[in-house]
Symmetry: C2
Subunit: 627 residues, 2 copies
């Protein structure tokens, strides 16, 4: 390894107020690289099984990657990981924005936080200097106010802040962490872990640009990427509408999560589509560090609801979870809900799905007006949705129950409620109905983080929307597979898609830029790693990295007693699809089990519980995980 | 797949005298590419388990690859495959030379031969024209004479001929096929299969150069390869001494097969070393199509033995098997033995090892002067060795017994003889003693073709002779592993080496040019495939191809009732190494079984018999092999 990648890992013990810096070997970086994979290394090494996710012993890992901080579109993402308070398993969520690159520019690849501060604090990192500062004055504030105060007291508006609002402070099990007010590490409740540590924020400022092994080569790829982004239909579409473009498509194909998955098309779609948003409340696009795609939404309203553009705007998952899934066609209310979720740092998906769950419980008589303190918590009631967000964030009344997530809430409510709790491993379903999209659904089932739309969405990836498979041919994927297919070929396709998605996760690459067929080719991705690190790497080595990361996540969950039975769907998803061109379509439990058999064997896992075999762990240089 | 790779497969039924041409799809070529992988496709599809290897139903496949015929060093190799008459399992052997590229220039990627001609015939292929011609006048001739007659009667000295001598005609179970008199498909007895079909030769002449997707790109790689070959110490060394350079090294390290593996260093090494050969009987270098390495030996002697340079000269395996393994230090006799083996098309390794076996039996009193018809068949008796080759080729006396290979011969001789029969799965051991080189030895044990030195020799590959691991870093191999190591890291290394060796096998790439660290980098290998085929491929896809080929070979052998117990070593190899710096070193049966456990799991095979799992087959697009 001639170039010599140098990185630093910051370690903070909040109980002892200890700050430490580690410099792992280049071999370590090449083996784990960043994101999910690097996080899992620390979680597996340092976390005892059964650790209380909201106790001081849980680790909270912020991990960028070897690529982070380079001036190139789509390379800004970083991971936050911990044992999840929502699922009890591997907790992990990625965000874009500016914070990850800023951390890298400040000199660190990752931060490992353990312990719990007695009083609220925040961490201030500036060019390798690290301080733990008092945050008593920030506690209880929404993130907009808190961020402003931090920037003011540190006297630098360019400081990037990742922080939690009241949702995180109040340990809502699906609280998120947000940077720059609009970029969320949304899922698995990492914000609650941050709250449990009395850690309000991590503010970062860095001026050190990353050393590059081949700056000229990187400039070339970066420039050609800018050109490709301008021209490629996918990035153009994403620029224009962000991923809200999926709303209309999801509805047309009939996989739009609607009324807590009792429907798969929404009659109010036109009022809440990406196109409508663009024409009405949208005021332009936001973006992430160095990215010319500019896919982020920005909205503003001054009608019944006043919504500031500071918090960006709803994306696909937000429109669907706070909108169609709650039967709500009021775009301003959804925008308000989105703003509140961001202010309080609640994951929009889990929040919307929890409210939709409560709505169904209310309609089915399992919750009464007494439970809701007079709120007509019916599908379509936009005001009720907005109010419930407040109550969840502050754990008031029914909000306190829903703040636990649908799995625990259903146990509390009892009776039939469990049927309406749509989750996998305790995490609420995202807004793609798997019955018309087996690959995404299978991803929900086997994802180590529970139902997760960033596990392996391969409609675009594998050319099912009119594209050929040329872009993914380097993976050996030479033939397209229809979306409804659930047989052997689909599982093979899924495995490759999952490998690629997990690779992006560990490299901090944005799916919207890299998802084939798109602007960044697989070849350019490999070259980017080469130019940055100087490593003579290949797609083969990178795919191994991803496989490694998946094996590590599986081992983590097995230690927390997840097994084969947890790789499943909620009951409702085995019922026929209610609407759309694929109406009636469904998969049986046997279909799913058959798919799992094949998948486990492909992964090198045993059939009983999906345990990675000893040989598989050794293949992936994980002999230290062989008990 | 925009370029559109076009290829043709020639099918010949010798029973019916049918000639047919198939044009498989581009998807087929991209999935199987050539060599071992492509051959296995036909063997698995068309051969019933239990087919008599020497009966008309056996297939004989000659397979070049998508790369064959391009004007570039190290790309000339092709495979001959069949059910092996020596092992009863997958029979396969590669050769360089000129015949493979010539076949490609004549319009074909492969030839599938089935049936049996009533009378001796040969096949004449010229620019897509195919004829089956009478060979009555050629039957019984050595290959030098036969080739000359064929070229004369077809009136073209540039015709390339792959053919058998008397060894193949007489169904010696380890008879080989040789092209241009010096390039042997040496192992597993494919020459006997050819003989059993009454097929003397395949003569080929082609003038059509392969179409290239990116001729400019290929020219660039090819030119830079020529430069690299001139400079690289490995290719320089190989040019100077061929692989006879290993003789001295093998002896120094103490893994030189000596006296039927009762010793691992040879006191006569200096008389039969590569250096000595170079200084004495060598008259220059031969080469293969378009290859600037020029690694092939050419010798001539006119002393006690007259040896013509027509048949090339001994390489490492020949010097060791006919030399040290028989305790013989007479270089001229070895050269004569090598010439005879080529004339009669006997595999030098199996021939030498069979004679060494008989020598030990003789010395231990299991064979008597009566058995040997007065021959003092003792270690060191060069004349006896030369005579035995004649007897084996013509199946005379003890030669008839040894023509069956050591496994069957030992059964016939009885008693202790079995202990001296050094084979795996019925194929005689090559001349690297595994006790000082675990990876090579493990390759002997698990190779589908039985003991095979072209399965995964990774001393050079993984930088154990003073090189770093940089050249193999794209495989994720980042740390060297000592040669004696047999633990998890070694098995991981072995898996990668085996994948690479099997990949070369399916692409027809010469290990001596490609073996890292060497002139051709892994990156250039991928680019070569791209430039020739136009496919947007990657090292990942190519490694999958290799994995596919290995799974197919395993399935083939399982159908022929090979299982876990057959992946082993002969008893002697579990005894302490007799000589050299590693004297006393050995591996236990438990070491081997432990290594197999890890390896099987890495391969995606079950532990019981090493059956590829259903998921593994599906991962490799082999769902058609799932029963």
């Amino acid at each position: 390894m001639p170039f010599g990648y140098n990185g630093k890992i910051l370690r903070i013990d909040l109980s002892r107020k200890d700050i430490d810096v580690e410099m792992p070997s280049e071999l370590f970086y090449r083996t784990y690289m960043g994101g999910g994979c690097l996080s899992l290394y620390y979680l597996l090494r340092e976390l005892k099984p059964g650790t209380d996710p909201l106790g001081p012993e849980n680790l909270l890992v912020f991990a960028s990657s070897v690529l982070s901080g380079i001036p190139m579109s789509g390379m800004s993402r970083y991971t936050v990981a911990a044992r999840s308070p929502l699922t009890g398993g591997f907790g992990e969520s990625e965000a874009g924005g500016y914070w990850g690159p800023e951390l890298k520019h400040a000199g660190f690849d990752a931060i490992i936080i353990k312990g719990k501060s007695e009083r609220p604090v925040y961490v201030w990192i500036h060019d390798e200097e690290v301080e733990i500062r008092d945050a008593a004055h920030l506690w209880g504030l929404d993130i907009g106010t808190a961020q402003q105060r931090i920037q003011k007291e540190l006297n630098d508006k360019l400081i990037r802040v990742a922080l939690i609002g009241q949702g995180g402070e109040n340990l809502v099990r699906y609280a998120c962490i947000i940077n720059n007010l609009a970029h969320a590490n949304g899922r698995t409740g990492v914000g609650a872990v941050m709250g449990s540590k009395n850690l309000k924020a991590i503010a970062v400022r860095g001026t050190k640009k990353p050393e590059l092994a081949a700056p000229g080569g990187l400039r070339e790829i970066s420039q050609s990427l800018v050109e490709a982004i301008k021209k490629h239909p996918n990035t153009q579409m994403i620029h224009k509408l962000g991923n809200t473009t999926f709303m209309t498509r999801a509805n047309t194909i009939g996989f739009l999560a609607t009324r807590n998955f009792t429907r798969s098309q929404f009659e109010g779609i036109e009022k809440i589509s990406g196109e409508t948003m663009e024409e009405t409340i949208s005021i332009g696009q936001g973006t992430c560090y160095a990215c010319t795609v500019r896919c982020k939404r920005k909205v503003r309203t001054k009608g019944r609801y006043e919504v500031s553009s500071l918090y960006g705007g709803p994306e696909y998952e937000d429109l669907a979870s706070l909108g169609s899934c709650c039967g709500i066609d009021d775009l301003e209310a959804i925008a308000k809900g989105h703003e509140l979720c961001n202010q309080y740092t609640l994951d929009c998906i889990s929040t919307g799905m929890s409210i939709a769950f409560a709505m169904e419980c209310f309609e089915k008589g399992l919750l009464t007006l007494k439970d809701t303190e007079g709120l007509q918590l019916r599908f379509g009631n936009a005001e009720a949705m907005v109010k419930m967000i407040e109550r969840i964030a502050f754990r008031r009344g029914l909000g306190d129950v829903l703040a636990e997530g649908v799995k625990r809430a259903a146990q509390k409510i009892g009776g039939e409620a469990q049927k309406y709790a749509l989750h996998v491993k305790g995490q609420e379903l995202p807004a793609h109905d798997p019955r018309a999209k087996f690959g995404v659904g299978f991803g929900y089932a086997v994802s180590p983080t529970g139902a997760d739309h960033l596990e392996a969405s391969h409609d675009q990836l594998f050319g099912q929307v009119g594209h050929g498979t040329e872009a993914v041919a380097p993976l050996g994927v030479l033939e397209p597979v229809p979306p409804l297919e659930s047989g052997p070929q689909k599982i093979r396709l899924f495995r490759h898609a999952q490998l690629i998605w997990n690779l992006w996760n560990s490299l901090g690459i944005c799916t919207l830029v890299a998802q084939p067929p798109s602007a960044l080719t697989l070849d350019e991705m490999v070259k980017t790693v080469r130019c940055v690190t100087g490593w003579n790497t290949s797609l083969y080595e990178l795919m191994q990295l991803s496989d490694r990361s998946m094996a590590m996540a599986r081992v983590f969950n097995l230690r927390e007693e997840f097994g084969r039975a947890d790789d499943t769907w909620p009951e409702r998803l085995f019922e026929p699809l209610p609407d759309g061109p694929h109406k009636g379509q469904t998969y049986t439990r046997e279909d799913l089990e058959r798919a799992k058999d094949i998948y486990y064997e492909m992964m090198g896992w045993d059939l009983e519980q999906g345990r990675p075999t000893r040989g598989k762990l050794i293949e992936l240089s994980l002999e230290w995980l062989v008990e």
